[in-house]
Amino acid sequence: MYTHLMKMKITKRERALVLNLSEREMAALDQLAQRKGQTKSAILRQALRLYESLDTRVSQGSRLVLEAPNKKDKAEVLLL
């Protein structure tokens, strides 16, 4: 049932953006894409979602804290 609809296009209004990156930034993006098995576009979209989500939480008064594997060392991350 509805098999003809299963492969639907969800995001219709995509807009293109030209982004200039330095060699170092492009290398970082390449590495991340390879490590995660994703396209560079997918990595940048994910990064935007993460930044947006964290920025919203921090602007509402939450703190972003990174905990070391030993669970003793904690450091607050300051979002720019």
Binding site: I10, K36, Q38, T56
Partner: protein
């Protein structure tokens, strides 16, 4: 803001007529009000009936398992879900809500999270589309209405989640925690059962890229 990305026709089993259904991204206040006024009283009533029959059981037979069975029988395991809150708590582009609308009648709803890591590819923290909540209207549930108005809308919403995963470059990876009564459906759909998640007591299921492709094949 609501935007329609697909319109299709489907058979209404109540009226024996063909209806036009809109597949939309986002919910308006009218849709949320509709769910509160039309879904919630039915689901609460079914939950109360489930609760009454459960508490009528001898105490020896009362357990989490029998409670789940009663909820399944009465078709309202999600009676406590508040879609107003779920819509309010959406965080920017991290969450999205999809709905199937029959004019202004809300027939099915789904909220997804795009910031959750895969449990199959746990080491690389590969992101997936995580289906947080998926529900069809009470009149589309065989446990509530013997002849549901529409059939297959849950499958259609799951297909949308998988399609979204492909579009977002996540290779079809899509996961969810299943209510007990739906586990068979997700296994049949080809999702991998990764066992009970101790944090919530529900089984976690995930589509691998291959399984996701197969699921979308006609």
């Amino acid at each position: 803001m609501t935007s329609c990305f697909e319109t299709f026709t489907v058979h209404n089993h109540e009226t024996n007529e063909v209806c036009q259904i809109d597949f939309v991204d986002g919910l308006s206040d009218n849709h949320l009000e509709f769910v509160t006024k039309e879904w919630t009283p039915i689901l609460r009533d079914r939950w109360e009936r489930a609760s009454l029959t459960y508490h009528a059981l001898p105490s020896k037979k009362q357990s989490e398992r029998t409670w789940q069975e009663k909820q399944r029988k009465f078709g309202a395991p999600d009676s406590h879900w508040n879609w107003y809150e779920k819509n309010q708590s959406m965080q920017g582009s991290v969450h999205r809500i999809f709905a199937l609308l029959n004019c202004e009648v809300v027939e099915a709803l789904m909220r997804v999270d795009l910031s959750t890591p895969s449990q199959i590819q746990h080491a690389t923290r590969t992101p997936i589309v995580y289906v947080e909540y998926l529900a069809v209207a009470p009149w589309n549930r065989p446990a509530i209405q013997s002849r549901p108005r529409f059939k297959g809308f849950g499958t259609l919403l799951l297909g949308a989640a998988v399609s979204l995963s492909f579009e977002e470059g996540m290779d079809g990876r899509c996961g969810l925690h299943s209510l007990t009564q739906s586990e068979g459906f997700y296994i049949h759909a080809g999702m991998e059962n990764l066992g009970v998640d101790k944090t919530c007591g529900l089984k976690y299921f995930e589509f691998s890229p291959d399984a996701a492709r197969k699921f979308l094949e006609p």
